[in-house]
Symmetry: C2
Subunit: 211 residues, 2 copies
Amino acid sequence: MPVIPSVYQNFDDKMRRILYNVLSAKTILYKSNQMISYSMGKRNVIGIVEQGQVRMIRYEYTGERTILDEFDEGDIFSDMFVESDFSELSVEAITNCAVTFIDYEEMISKAESSKLALQFLNNFIHVISHTLVKRNERIELLTTRSIRNKLLAYFELQAKKSNSKTFNLNYSYTDLADYLAVDRSALMRELKYLKEEKFISDVNKKITLLY
Amino acid sequence: MPVIPSVYQNFDDKMRRILYNVLSAKTILYKSNQMISYSMGKRNVIGIVEQGQVRMIRYEYTGERTILDEFDEGDIFSDMFVESDFSELSVEAITNCAVTFIDYEEMISKAESSKLALQFLNNFIHVISHTLVKRNERIELLTTRSIRNKLLAYFELQAKKSNSKTFNLNYSYTDLADYLAVDRSALMRELKYLKEEKFISDVNKKITLLY
DNA sequence: TTTTGTCTGTTGCAATTGCAACAAAAAAAC
DNA sequence: GTTTTTTTGTTGCAATTGCAACAGACAAAA
């Protein structure tokens, strides 16, 4: 079972408080559907999702929407990880959530003198690495050559993550289509074929791989 | 003009030698087309491309090939960044090249005591961040909804990187198709249309955006 | 509790894409 | 400099996908 790294690995509450004090971290609360704007001028800022769920979304001028990434508790996001002027990106709170912001340079410079900050830095790297893994997975999904293969690859990934052939979809099909970058109705059609051909079963959002 | 981060930022040759000594780094030479196997048992190993060009490729059992990523001088790759058992991945030397391998835990633990190692760690994070940016770009390309849009998005990215409407393709069209995950002949056809409709000109691999 | 909005499920039709197959050009190997 | 391999360029045809439009289910808000 893969361990999902967290920036708080080996940290208890007290250590966390000390650390956040050392790093001058700020925690901000957002309501669901609220926009999160975190680019504070020229500084490299890191956002840590403490609670709730956050998504990075691209809106095309055509009205097309693509879910670029989803961040859950313990995930981090940062403008350091995004080329800003490629297209219109926004980060949105999906649920009510709490996000802590840290200044990157602060984190590095404090790592020299504070063991806690170095440990945090270490955790931070593991989290970025894991983010990279997620991105790679995404790329692997997107580079499969048909909707059928995209769906199966996605389902297999979910099955692997939940360690079972049966799992609950936590995307709506509308969102899944945006995530896999395909037309929703075409996705529904392919899903129907997959059910008809007994590749999967789908009892309202509970998917089972039948092979 | 965006600065591409390097793990050797602020390092001269002497510092680099000292650092590599501290970290017990090993540099290995590969001939072009040679396979690079870098997973040294259970350790987290980081490969730094010193010279030449390296690609990460997925081969499907169907014979399909997808170029997942390309690493140039100063880029890093690591098994930390890849979920190993998803599909058959290989890392291959495209040209003759030199790759330095570093043990991740070594890098972290030495950062505490060695200023040089901490600086290297800092650089390392910037490089990973940049890798993430590249992955995001890739995802943005892959999530556009047609071959035409993929091509245009790719061309625009290259134009932006070379800071000019004219630039040289360094992929063959065969490779570009594998990179954009589309059929080669379909890509050629779309390219023809783009030329006919005066969106671009293409004088043997020198592309110009005409809009 | 009604209203409003979003999500699911479906379908015909058109557009796009992939596949297969081939010839010519270019590049690499000998 | 000749041979071999790879890449480019093209096309007809079939399969897949997107688009548009709709009805019903479901959820959220008033």
